[in-house]
């Protein structure tokens, strides 16, 4: 047996054979993957770009204002919703008058607190109009709650009807500002 053949016999064990096959397999997969990456066309995402117009960049002052208004907006929205649904569930007799009273009084506290917090903000000139609009909305919610609370004094449900247009107008206003500031707040469903 020559020296070269003896050396080959040393390497040709079953273990080295298996390792070799695995190595070749991995090399094949790698070659396939590299080839595929190099030849695959881009995803159709780029073939059909979104039609959404890019949002103009915000100035630091605008961004800071929106961030500060955001938690206030959340508190206001939840109070409006609780008051709105409270009235519906009261009319369907799923909520007692006392429970509705609690809800409206709590909402009134939130609205007053929100007004104070919003007044403490300093909007940049570019957002002054939105700031005023949001304040006007919060005042409408307060007026609406004040009107609705009369129900608990004289027992007349008509106060809810009288309170309604103001809360509706307020909801339109915060939706307008909210939609502009936080367009992703409500996704399509």
């Amino acid at each position: 047996m020559s020296e070269a053949r003896a050396r080959l016999h040393i390497w040709m064990t079953p273990k080295t054979l298996i390792l070799g096959i695995i190595g070749l397999g991995l090399l094949g997969i790698l070659t396939f993957a590299v080839g595929r990456e190099a030849t695959t066309r881009p995803m159709p995402a780029s073939a059909r770009p979104s039609a959404r117009p890019p949002r103009p960049p915000l100035s630091p002052a605008e961004e800071a204002y929106m961030r500060e208004l955001w938690p206030i907006h959340g508190d206001v929205e939840r109070s409006v919703m609780r008051m709105t649904l409270g009235q519906i569930l009261y009319k369907t007799q799923d909520l007692s008058r006392a429970e509705l009273q609690t809800r409206i009084e709590q909402a009134q506290i939130t609205y007053r607190g929100a007004e104070t917090r919003i007044r403490a903000l300093e909007p940049p000139a570019s957002l002054r109009r939105d700031h005023e609009q949001y304040l006007a909305a919060v005042r409408l919610f307060q007026e609406s709650a004040s009107e609705a609370i009369k129900l608990f004094k004289d027992g007349r449900d008509e106060h809810l009807l009288a309170a309604y247009p103001k809360s509706q107008e307020g909801s339109d206003k915060i939706r307008e500002v909210g939609g502009k500031f936080w367009p992703n707040e409500f996704p399509p469903n």
């Binding site: 995803m43 159709p44 995402a45 059909r48 770009p49 979104s50 039609a51 959404r52 117009p53 915000l58 961004e63 929106m66 961030r67 955001w70 938690p71 907006h73 959340g74 929205e77 939840r78 409006v80 919703m81 609780r82 709105t84 649904l85 409270g86 009235q87 519906i88 569930l89 009319k91 369907t92 799923d94 809810l160 009807l161 309604y164 809360s167 509706q168 909801s171 339109d172 915060i174 939706r175 307008e176 939609g179 502009k180 500031f181 936080w182 367009p183 992703n184 707040e185 409500f186 996704p187 399509p188 469903n189």
Partner: protein, 393 residues
């Protein structure tokens, strides 16, 4: 004598015990027929649905159309139907059902929406037109709308209610109770992912935890205060009927609950027509091909088993004629094409900003509303404009 009375009392006692056991058995059996975790008012057996078919077939017939309130553009297909990715992007109509009975009055199933800033400025939608204009343009009188059935209360389906101040709105109590329940849901262990409003990062849109209070795809997102206010307006003016489960709106028009088929208080509408029972499903029936092929759709807020059970309701109600072909979908991408046969008789609404209408079926001698020379310009060739707008419900 005493012994005789004793016997009588013993017999009566025995009968009472047997009766009690039998009643418990009956109740237990009825309970067992309902899937677990299903509200009694949300459950309908196949037999009761078939009885509704029989009753409806003896009832007046309705003509039916759909119109497209707006169209979501370039929606990633898998975001809509996880099991379907081809083509990778789809356009989704927001369909509204219109029904005309023998008395000439109209019933709407869903009302679309009017959030124009959202539709045109912040989303990738197109082709919006106000519902009253659309009705006029297809030859129907919007003042004849007397009833509105809301398939669910999401903002893209329950808007524009104030356009019909005299119409009675039908909505499930369960739909309203679920929003109320989740409004102040504690966030200690869910990082703000379970909330009714306000749950995305205000600037990046990413879904994050408190105090950012996010609302992207939580179980009850999709109800801006504005939309719920409109429902309150209907309630306060005595123009809403809050229902709990099955409800017959009129002979031939039956609401069937589909609780959690999309939202907690989703509801279907069975309509008797010359082509059998049509079943409108709003987002519970987001995709017609999904119903046909038993694939889930628009599931982010959906219990998929309940969605399948709601699909089955259509199969039962439409079992005598046309089967799944009579299921009417809210967002089926192939709407207004031959691929969705029920909607194949379509046209672009004149002056409708590229929104489309389809005539599903005619009854009671109603003449066709399809124009003599209908505009069937393909969507990609139709140029839609952005109307002047501020935000409205």
């Amino acid at each position: 004598m005493n012994r005789r009375w004793l016997h009588v009392w013993m017999m009566l006692g025995l009968l009472a015990v047997i009766g009690g056991l039998a009643r418990a058995d009956v109740l237990q059996a009825a309970q067992n027929k309902r899937p677990p975790q299903v509200l009694p008012s949300g459950f309908e057996s196949t037999d009761s649905l078939l009885r509704d078919v029989e009753r409806a077939e003896r009832s007046p017939r309705y003509s039916a159309w759909i119109v497209e309130s707006s169209r979501f553009m370039n929606v990633p297909h898998r975001a809509f139907q996880p099991d379907v990715g081809d083509p990778p992007f789809v356009d989704l109509p927001v369909n509204v059902g219109i029904l005309k009975g023998p008395d000439g009055n109209l019933t709407l199933y869903d009302t679309g929406w009017k959030q124009l800033a959202y539709i045109f400025d912040w989303n990738t939608s197109c082709c919006w037109k106000g519902i009253r204009d659309q009705l006029h343009a297809i030859g129907l009188d919007p003042d004849k709308v007397t009833q509105i059935v809301l398939g669910h209360g999401h903002w893209d389906h329950a808007g524009q209610l104030s356009e019909f101040p005299e119409a009675i709105v039908y909505i499930q109590k369960e739909e309203l109770k679920q929003i109320d329940f989740f409004l102040n849901y504690p966030v200690d262990f869910n990082s703000g992912h379970i909330r009714a409003v306000n749950t995305v990062d205000p600037l990046t849109g990413a879904q994050v935890g408190p105090p950012q209070q996010a609302c992207a795809r939580t179980p009850v997102c999709g109800y801006p205060p504005q939309t719920v206010q409109e429902i309150l307006g209907k309630v306060l003016h005595g123009k809403a009927i809050i229902i709990d489960g099955r409800h017959e709106v009129a002979p031939g028009l039956v609401i069937h609950p589909a609780f959690r088929g999309h939202t907690y208080g989703s509801q279907l509408l069975q309509v008797n027509t010359p082509r059998g029972q049509l079943v409108f499903g709003s987002d519970t029936y987001s995709s017609w091909t999904g119903i046909r092929d038993w694939l889930v759709a628009n599931i982010q807020q959906t219990d998929t088993i309940q969605q399948f059970l709601a699909y089955e309701k259509c199969y039962v109600l439409a079992s005598r004629l046309n089967s799944f072909n009579n299921c009417v979908s809210a967002h089926e991408p192939t709407s207004y094409t031959a691929a969705y046969p029920l909607t194949s008789n379509w046209w672009n609404i004149p002056g409708g900003n590229c929104s489309r209408a389809a005539e599903l079926i005619l009854a009671n001698g109603e003449p066709t509303h399809v124009p003599g020379n209908p505009d069937r310009t393909a969507p990609e060739a139709c140029v839609s404009t952005v109307p002047p707008h501020s935000i409205s419900p």
